[in-house]
Each structure stands twice: as C-alpha cells, then as structure tokens.
Subunit: 263 residues, 4 copies
C-alpha cells in the first residue's frame, strides 16, 4: 500500500470513528458490490477446501464504504456459506440487521482488529491445524517456504491466560479481542495458544493466500525440524524484498476458487 | 445436565433395571422418533467421513423411552448405514428382533457402558487412528486444542490383559465390557490398548463431536510432542470452564452431515 | 484352514506339479467363476483406493481348479483393472494366452510363492508406502493394532542384494522370486528392501484385508515410536488367539468395494 | 539415450544456437503435434492431482522441431491448463506470440536449462512439498525407494544467496536461472532452497514420473530418518543398473492421466 493511500485511509478511518454514535442497532454502511461479497463467500469455501478452516472458523471483510463496519457470515460452517448468509456489524460487533440469525461468539476478534489496524481490510480466524503445535510449544514459527516469506516479521503467540486468566478458551469479548489485537500488533499473523490463529490482509484474497501458506509453512517447518540440524530459514532481507512484490493474487485464488466452488 | 435431570434419569434408570426380566428375547422399548434414528445414521456417516470410524467401528444411542434398551446398526460398515439397518438391544446386548441380521461382536461395550453411566445417551467405539499411539505408549493424552478441552479430566487406557489375560483383543463379552466401563469411569473418553477408544456423550451429536476432536487433539499433541520442549496444555481450570458451555452442536454437525450424506 | 483341507490341497498341488509338462504355451486351468474374477478386480480397485497399491502393484489369485495356474491382470494401473484385463499364467509365469498384452516384469513373485506355499490362494505385491521405512531401517515391524495382529509371527525383510548382488531392484526373475518366497517362509507378509512388500492369504479378500492393515499398522507403529518410550505391542499369545478367529471378511470388503467401484 | 542420438541432437542444438538471431519477437519453431501438446497438458493436470504442483508450478517441453524453443502454459494454475493456454518461447524466454497473456516470472528456469542440457526435452519447476525440508536442512536427499533410484547420482541444492545475495526468492532472471542450471549440472533433479525443485527428463512423461517419485521418495526418507538408525539406501550400483531400464512410462502415466483428466 502506498503511503498516500495509507494516509487517506487512516484519515477516513478516524473521521468515521468520531462520527456520532450508533444506538443499540448501528446503521448500515450501505450496499456492497456483489463481486466483493462473492469474494468473501469464495474465501470461506476456499479456506474450508484447503483445510485451513474447520467447521468453526470465520472470515470477514471491512465494509468498503464505511471502515467502521465489517461483513461476516452468520454462525455456520464456512464450507456452506452463501451470499445470503453475510451479515453486517459495527466494530463493537453489534449486528446491523440481526433478525433471527445466530452470530459467531468470537466475532469480536474481527471488530477489534479492524479498530486497531486501519490498513487491514480482511480478517481470518482459523483452527489451522498445522500452526497449533507452534502455539503450544516454545518453537517460534519462522518462514521456510518462499510463499510464506511474509512471516519474516515474526509470528507472535497470544496467551489468553495473560489477558483473562482462566477462561473457556474463547475470545468471546471485546476485552479479550482487544488483547489479541495488541498481540498481533502490525503483523500479518498471530497464533492463539491451544486454539488457532488470526491472519489479516489488505484484501480478502491476500489474507486467504496468507492463511493457506501459513498452514503450509507450519507443516514444512515441522518436518524440517524433525529432520534435525540447523534450518536455513528465509532471511529478514529476503522476506522484506518479497513483501515489495508478493505476486498477483489471481493465480492461486482462481484455481482454488474453481476447485472449492465445485463442491 | 442439571442435577434435577440427572436425578430423574437415575431414578427412571433404576426402576427400569429392576423391572421384571426379559426372557431370551427382550421386549422393545417402543417406537423411536425417526429424527433421532436419522441422527444415529448421520453419526455413522459423519464419523466414517471424518476418518474416525473405519470399516469396523460402531455408534449407538440409548432408547429415548426405555433406558434399558439401546439402538445400533447391524454388523456392517458405518459408511453405509441406513435407518433400515438399526437394531434394538437390551443392556445385556440381546437383540429385540434379530431376524437374520449379524450383530457386532463387541456390542457389549455399549450395553455395559449404558448400565454403568445413566447420564450417557450415546456411545461410540472407534479405531480412531490418531489415538492408538497414545494407547500403546506411556504418553498420556491431554488436551492441546480448545475444542477437545473436555479431555482435561484425563483419558484412561483400558489394558485388556488386566481384565482378561491373553485374549483375541476383542471386547467380546459382558465381562470384558464391564471392565472397560469401569476404566472409563465418569470420563468422556477411554482408550483401548492396541485397539481404539470409546467416546460417550449426553446425546449422539455431542458424542460425535467429541470423537472427532479427540482424534484431532491426538494428532496435534503428537506433532507438538515431536517439536519438543514443554507443552502448554489446556489447564484443568480452562477445561472445566469450557465444560460449562461447550457450544452448540449444530454448527459442526450440520456441515459434517451435509458433506457425509452426499457420498 | 483345517488340517484335512490342507492335506487335500497339498496332495492335489503335488499331483498337478508332476503332471506332464506344458510346452512353451501352458494349457489353461479352465474357466473360472465370474464371481471370483470379480473379487480379483475388486481387490485391485480396493487396494488402489486405500492407498496400498500405486500405479505399479499387482494382485493375483491361484486358479481355483488348477493349483498350477494363477490369474493376474495384464501390466496396467490397478485402479483401472476390469475382468477383461485378467490373464492366466503357469507357476513359471508363462502366459496361457498372451496375445499382444504386456505382462508384469515381476509376475514371478506370484508364481514362486504359489509353488512354495500350497496354502496360499492370493498374492499381493505392493509399494505400500507406510511399510517401506521398515524395510530400510533396523526397526522390525510388529503389530500395534489388533486388526494387524496376524503380524505377530514376525515380518521378514527380503534383501535383494543377498540374493542377487547389485540389481536393478526388480524381482524380475524366477530365481529372485524364489529367494523372496524363501524369505517369506510361512509368514503372511514380507517386506522388500527399498521397494515394498508381499502379502498372501487363503483367499483374495483376506489377503486384501491383510495388506490394508499392514499399511495401517506401519503408520501407527511409526507414530508410536515417534512418541517414544516402550511400545506395548500385541503379544504373541494375543496374535495367536486372534488368528483362530480373524473375523468375517465381508464387513471391511463390502464397504471398501462399494467405495472403490464408484470411482 | 544412445550416444548416436545424443551426438545428433547436440549437433542440431549447436547449429540452431548459432542461427541468425531473433529480434525482439522470435520466430516460431513451427506447428507441434497435438498429441505432444496433449501430453504437456496432461503433465500439468497429473502433477497438480498428485500433489507435486500447487497453484504456482510449471511444466515445459522443448519444441520438437526447434531445440531453441520451448512450450509452456501462460501464467495460471496448472490444474486448469488446456491446450489453448500453451505459449512458445525462445531460450532467452521471450514469447513468440504473447498477445495479452501473462507469463511465468520464473520461466527463465526452463530456457536456461534447455540451453545447458541438450539431452533435456522437458522441465518441471514445482513446490513439491516433501522435498522442501531437504532443501533447508543439511540432510541430503538420497534414494530409498526403487522407483526413485534415479536419485543415486545425488540431489544438489541451489542456494539462491550464493548466486544473487538477498533476493525476493524468485528465480526471476536469466542470470539466476543460469546459476540454477549450473547447480543442476547433469543431474535429473535439483532442490531450490526454501522454494522447491526442478526436475528434468528426456520426455515429459519421464520427467513427470521422476517428479512424482522424487516427492514420494522425500516423504519415505523423512519417515525412515524419523525411525532412526542407519538407512539402507539404494546403492549407486543399483541406481545405475536401474537407469539402464527405468521401465515403460505408460503404466503410471495412463492411470494418472485418466484420474487427473476426470476432474
């Protein structure tokens, strides 16, 4: 993202933040381009098909016209999400138009990350299986595979005990989610101990690609550590250079989407 | 389960237990809601599709109207079970209406657990592959993933040699099954050395979800142990808090069922 | 197999062996029940579907009317075998009716095992991936899972260097296959170093079930060894007791066949 | 390849190399047999289906009539390639007829290997997951499985830092690709650190089979190393003997193609 675009978005974000408040039911950010909703649906399906999302994960996008709103499916299995299942929330995770739909208990993760990170336009919370071992051991996740070189900045681990003491392990409140967002900082990925991870991106395609390759990297790093000896990691210099041109999103996205939507 | 419901069920259970005995062919507990049979069929299909049941596992539910009867398929591969394959047994595992149908040799597992555990309404016996290594080593299975936090109470291992000396490894009699039920105690899961596990629950959906996440937890714990160092397990306090609200069953069940029934 | 049946088969086998010889083209053993051919086709498909056979394995049955003949597909990928692909060979692996069909280079494995083992009615040669590591290390394969308890008799490893010095690694001659049959001895399974295994049985269903569970056992034993500590193996006594009643073949076979034939 | 054919091809190759140069847009090598294009398409699909190619790999063939041209798909996911997606390039990787099609950033890998290796008629660049750990540790890949015995000559690892210092990890220029081709030398396979591998062959079927079994060998070697103790590798003598008759390509190819093209 160019500095100019970042500055404009931050300004817009701040203006919206101080706009006079929603009451119990926040106003909608307005209609959303169906193509973007289609991408959000596809992200759900792709991440389920690629084994990143099990029955319990969720994906959101920030509202393109109002940075204080986000869009996410009702509480359901991601593999079955359709456009009709998408709901809108404010950043305190109050629904714009709930009707009788059930909501993700951990939707606060999305709201609090959108509050803390104006650059983020998509958030994924998953139980990505390969990464969980890295959240419960002292082994830091580091990039070993070039498509996951964005991990060079480090992958922090959120210890929910530090934020909330003994809990039921769910990031089910604004306070816990705020602490998670703090752990994430300016990174693309944070692990959640005994639980999964969060992955963010400047758009839902990039976030999806990051989530898939975070899982792939975790598996490859696990195998490499099993072989033993020093690991030749992607260096910070290599990671930083790759960040400057991470590649087009379409190549992976298009193939994955085609495969996932056939199911 | 509330204390009141537990007390009522226990009383009902005891009354039925002392009711004048069935002869060789026990009487039926009466018709069962087809929706419940449908859940039992779906549990078979889901557990096969999720890789928990191979060709040899089985799932049962307690008869909703008579706690001294249980329902289970005839001896067949779980992936192919239909409502027409469901048979009824008393708790000594005598069939109510056998006809020419073959029966699971290890059905006694179900009967004896229903005898010992009035709170249990569904029993799964599987060869869940990920858990078998924990039944043949000295490494205790412990929860590392929040959806398996119900394992915080411990996962006992049934050593059939202690109960029956050298056997053909099958829990093929009431005595062996009684010993297994004793090892299970008040827990949700017990491993069977060199064989698989049993998973129980207050309904067939919860038992199914537990069986799937017991398998997932086993795989994640195995990988984490391979990474080395101390493991940051789900604590007893966290597990106990999660038990108070383990989440709605529908989200996982609905998606899994849709996927499994398409096959 | 009862002693009587064994004695009768051995006698019949010996008589056929000394019958006046075939010339270059041996005579057929006669027509075979299509249901048995159907089982042989299903075994090919099942073993491919279960991940035991890759593109290069093969399955044979002994001719039911002539113990000096065996039936096996032409050289092709097992996943695609149909009844029309089945060819007949004598025990020196000469084809009865070759036409223009290509033959497995390693078909001698089948002929030599049928010569050495009158009790064997089906032979599988696979590249079963899980077992290969046990053929190239000093770790003996032993049963850890009750459905593989037939491995209690031990799993010998065929070192082709001992039989033929440096080779191209293929068991491509009668002499090499004879040496392999000697390594197999009276066992159900032998590994071939750097290559795969052979699995035999009294019928093709039993051999198929053994091949699948040999693979499963290898994977489970590998994981258990990774967890560390002593392994609580299936004991010889347990294995021997299980051999007396290994269970009906239909339950696994029927489900696997249904799944494999749908492809 | 016989010495005569090698000499003829080399001479032809050299003649073409010194032919008067293409300008910015090189001339086409002429029409290509549709059956060969069909093989190239099938190789893309097979390698995706077998898990060797993810969304980012690519496969090329040398032009059969002009050794200074090669054929490769436009930049897209290999699982979806059709004949209409195939483009032609010269060995500096300039497109013959680009139109509006996007090109692989790393296509230089193909051009430079065709320059350096007149015997090579097909090149695969993959992110083959099993091999990546061998590219980032000090554990050399060696053949443990007979279908991968062609690895007996050794598997060099390309360290892009040695060729280009800190990079974005992509082999995105002629210079980097030339260095990779030098690392490959006369071998069939080279690993690329933190990235994947290149696999070459005398035709696209053989290259495909090599790529699949390089992946399989990597997984088996990883598991065997995990079991511990000395590994009984395929010996150089065995590898060399196998190279003399590596087997017909059709058996694996035909089955894999049928499976991949159904998708």
């Amino acid at each position: 993202m160019s500095f100019l675009r970042f500055a404009l978005m931050s300004a817009m974000f701040l203006m919206m933040s101080v706009a006079p408040g929603h009451a119990q039911t926040p106003a909608s950010g307005g209609p959303v381009d169906p193509a973007l909703i289609d991408d959000l649906v596809a992200a759900n399906r792709i991440l389920a098909d690629q084994g990143v999302l099990d029955a319990y994960g969720h994906v959101s996008i920030r509202h393109p016209a109002n940075p204080n709103r986000y869009l996410i499916s009702r509480a359901m299995s991601p593999a079955d999400v359709t456009a009709a299942d998408i709901m809108e929330f404010d950043l305190d995770s109050n629904p714009v138009d709930r009707r009788d739909r059930s909501m993700f208990l951990e939707r606060f993760i999305h709201g609090e990350i959108y509050k803390a990170r104006p650059d983020v336009m998509a958030v994924i919370h998953s139980h990505s299986p390969g990464v969980i071992p890295f959240g419960i051991t002292n082994v830091p996740m580091r990039p070993v595979f070039h498509t996951a070189s964005f991990l060079w900045v480090g992958v922090p681990v959120f210890e929910i005990r530090d934020a909330g003491g003994a809990t039921n392990m769910l990031v089910g409140s604004g306070d816990l989610a705020k602490a998670l967002a703090k752990t994430l900082g300016d990174k693309p990925v944070a692990l959640i101990r005994g639980h999964g991870n969060v992955v963010v991106g400047p758009n839902v395609k990039r976030a999806t690609i990051r989530a898939v390759y975070t899982e792939v990297n975790a598996r490859l790093q696990t195998i490499a550590l099993g072989l033993g000896g020093p690991i030749n990691y992607i260096s910070p210099e290599e990671g930083a250079l790759r960040d400057k041109g991470p590649g087009e999103e379409g190549r992976a996205w298009d193939g994955w989407k085609k495969k996932a939507m056939q199911k």
